[in-house]
């Protein structure tokens, strides 16, 4: 039997046991992993044409390239759902030889597809698992692959194409715009992004958040206000942001009305998710906020659909209050108690160095002072946020003797320091500490002189993630903040503006940075302090080395459960 295809190459189907195949495919023996056929199997010739039709081979009137394209298009259409099914149905009926034949044909088809530059058969979109953003993105990507074959990059023939959500692929310009479409807020991408961080979102600062919202009716006004406050750094710091967010959510819940035909446990989480999406666009969520959201959604989902809405809402609001009191406020107090027990952390004559502004550290220092312990504090600060000034004011007003320096002066003063006490935004699974940028610099200087470093952190900020350095994840802030060289903290700016006194923005030499092509500014918000810089971690459950953070959190959860 001879099948002549359009451009004239011949596919020989001989009467012996060789099945039909595309001559481009390598001979059977060369294909790795393919077992040799046993001669005893018989091939049924009558089945071949139907399978050939189904696979699309053997349409003699087309040219090979058009053939391939059409073949691919057909396959692609069947891609998401259907292509599995015909094979599945018939596999039960087929003999071993026929299955082998089908396998070979599919392999040949795959080769043809790849030659035409289309990716392998698309996987089914994930059902249920993963975040909403990821599944949407995966579906997005699949849809995209079907429709824009010529645009797709040529993958190497043997490479598996990794499916990753668009939000994680920001270094690819095509994916960037896709990620943009999924966000509820129209944010302008930074015009001069820093190459090293191209995998992270970098945005221009914009004034009117509300005007950029795509669909406004879903966002509660309390959350809108909150988002603005986050973006302006009026509310900053893990605990403050988390508490403010939870207070806003309490309002959302109390104003919530279940739509007709839906139940509260099913619908409310999606409402919360929308608020969270909006907030994450004003500023990246802190680890503290993520834990709170997770707990809240858990509480909502386990509430019974039978309870009347008002009761459910009251219960949820009560749970939120409980979370705030137990895991933030009481935890903070417990940490101060634990740290001062037997004068562990702060003794008479100590010189304590702290960096930035941490509410827990401030609480500890004030408590120690209230107990009459005699110590000095050196506050190290970092540009451009200059948050240390806030903590300095509180300490001075409490009557503690303080010194204030920029972080560059820390190595000079480190020989006088007896302990370094810092707060954290999150403690990672490998014991590393994610905190305000500059913390690692201070801890490094401390380690050089063997000064012990104590990290104070509530257990709800312990994270299961691991980050090796400050590049894998970070928050890139507004680069224009680096231009202002007045050394005034943002709060002082507001004060000056209201009196209309002198210039609040003293633009330095690089005020013209946008016009200089090769000049970029990088304003990082977080950094990762490696575990071996940290001597001890104090949480409300006790003092542990920072590598044990997760263990203690899990045990505490088990104990309370």
């Amino acid at each position: 039997m001879l099948i002549i295809c359009g451009d004239g190459f011949f596919v020989m189907a001989s009467k012996d046991k060789e099945p039909i195949r595309n001559t481009d495919a390598p001979p059977r023996s060369v294909v790795v992993g393919f077992d040799a056929p046993s001669p005893s199997r018989s091939v049924e010739p009558s089945r071949r044409p139907s399978k050939a039709d189904a696979a699309g081979i053997g349409k003699p009137s087309r040219t090979s390239s058009a053939n391939d394209a059409e073949l691919s298009a057909e396959l692609a259409k069947k891609g998401g759902e259907g292509s599995q099914n015909p094979a599945k149905k018939s596999q039960k009926e087929m003999t071993k030889a026929e299955r082998r034949e089908l396998q070979e044909r599919q392999r040949a088809e795959k080769k043809a597809r790849e030659a035409a530059g289309i990716p392998k058969r698309l996987p089914k979109p994930k059902q249920g698992g993963g975040t909403p953003g990821q599944t949407a993105a995966a579906g997005f990507a699949a849809h995209n692959a079907q429709n824009s074959q010529p645009d797709m990059k040529q993958p190497s023939p043997n490479a598996a194409v990794l499916r990753v959500a668009s939000s994680m692929r920001l270094d690819d310009p095509r994916k960037r715009s896709k990620a943009q479409k999924q966000q509820p807020v129209n944010r302008q991408i930074a015009r001069k992004p820093v190459g090293l961080f191209s995998h992270l979102p970098q945005y221009e600062k914009h004034d009117n958040m509300q005007a950029r919202l795509k669909k406004q009716e879903n966002i509660h006004p309390a959350v809108l206000t909150l988002g603005l406050r986050f973006a302006e750094f009026v509310i900053a710091g893990g605990n403050a942001r988390c508490m403010a967010m939870l207070q806003a959510f309490k309002k959302v819940i109390s104003d919530y009305v279940t739509p007709v035909g839906m139940s509260l446990p099913r619908h409310l989480p999606s409402v919360i998710s929308k608020q969270v999406d909006f907030l994450s666009n004003t500023r990246v969520l802190a680890a503290s906020m993520k834990t709170a959201i997770r707990e809240l959604k858990k509480e909502i989902s386990i509430s019974s659909p039978d309870t009347p809405d008002e009761d459910a809402k009251t219960y949820l609001i009560g749970k939120i209050d409980e979370f705030i009191v137990e895991r933030i406020i009481t935890a903070g107090r417990a940490i101060a108690e634990e740290a001062l027990e037997q004068k562990k952390s702060i003794k008479d004559g100590d010189v304590i160095l702290t960096f930035g502004r941490s509410s827990v550290v401030l609480q500890l220092l004030l408590a120690a002072h209230a107990r009459g312990i005699n110590f000095k504090v050196i506050v190290a600060d970092g540009r451009p946020k200059l948050e240390g000034k806030e903590i300095l004011k509180s300490l001075v007003h409490a009557g503690i003797s303080c010194a204030y320096v920029f972080c560059t002066a820390v190595p000079l003063l480190m020989k006088e320091v007896t302990k370094v006490i810092i707060g954290a935004s999150a403690v990672l699974a490998n014991g590393a500490v994610l905190s305000r940028v500059g913390t690692s610099v201070v801890c490094n200087a401390a380690k050089e002189l063997q000064v012990p470093v104590i990290v104070l952190c509530e257990s709800y900020k312990f994270s299961e993630e691991v980050r090796l350095d400050s590049f894998t994840w970070n928050e890139i802030g507004n680069p224009d903040e680096l231009v202002d060289v007045s050394n005034r903290a943002p709060s002082e700016h507001a004060f000056n503006a209201s009196t209309g006194g002198f210039q609040s923005d003293e633009a330095g030499v690089i005020g013209c940075w946008r016009s200089v092509d090769k000049l970029k500014l990088l304003n990082l918000h977080y950094d990762v302090t490696p575990a071996h810089f940290v001597t001890a971690l104090i949480c409300e459950h006790g003092t542990v080395p920072s590598t044990c953070a997760l263990t203690i959190a899990r045990l505490a959860a088990e104990k309370s459960a």
Binding site: L196, V405, T408, A409, E448, D469, V485, L519
Partner: protein, 335 residues
Amino acid sequence: MLKEINYQIDSLVAKLRRRQIVGSYNVAIATSRLLRNVVAASRCNDVEQLSALVKEVGSRLEGAQPIELAVGNMVKRVLHLIKEEHNVETEASDAAETAETTSESDDFGERRRNFVADVKQSIEEMIDELENTSTNISNQAWEHIHSKEIILTVGRSKTVEHFLKVAAQVREFQVIVAETAPSYQGHEMALALSSAGIDTTVITDTAIFAVMSRVNKVILGAHAVTANGGVVAVCGSQLVAAAAKEYSTPIVVCTGLHKLSPSYPYDTDIFNLCINPDAVYSFEAGDIIDSVDIVNPHFDYVGPEDVSLFITNVGTHPPSFVQRLIYDTYIVDEE
């Protein structure tokens, strides 16, 4: 001595004291030129008198601004040159004496004038070398910077700036500049580099450790180099050194020979200068200013164990070689 020379000396002393001349290079040039004039106008009869004169002028200049170590360095170099010239001359005259008898007085006067002229010549050469320092250092740039490297630098150093600009003509690389608050010298450096077409990113000092994991090399300028191979550099360098040690990133220091100082850092604080704290926490900013100590150091000391290489105008050397260089260039064993 001539009144004019005295006037020049007084003028330089005043400028140093008021910090109107700042920076190792400027100070070194000014000192060398002054010493050349002093030597040229001197009426000394022999090497001891000349040395004593130079020492006296030198101690006045050093006293005006002790932190500018370049002053002392140049004085010691001139003394070394004087002694060298004297040695050369003595050898020549010894050789001549054994060969023939000489008539005393005429030759003596002439020898003295030649001696002074020779010393002045040497000082001129030294000034030439000074003026070409930057070029000689930058000529080695292409050997040390490779393509697609990410280089970190701190503050503003004209030497490093020139070094990187010359390298950029041959290689393609990126530079990250730490801004060194509150003087913000890093901003000026970044502007200068990017205007020359180098891909530059400005970071805050707090991000130094964070970015160090991606940095291939650190290039620093120096205010002075101590006799053990340590470096006195802009404040912030010690943070960079600690971070670089953590990631095993090499630190390269670009410096002219005039910054090599024979003093040992027996107390690292002695090399520091704490300047106006207003830049850190401004006086107008608040009521708490009275109760808070504010420290604003200008320099940092980085030990020789952290520096990988010195690139100088006479070649590249490891820190262990600095002592040898100093011995060759300066009079060290003085009373």
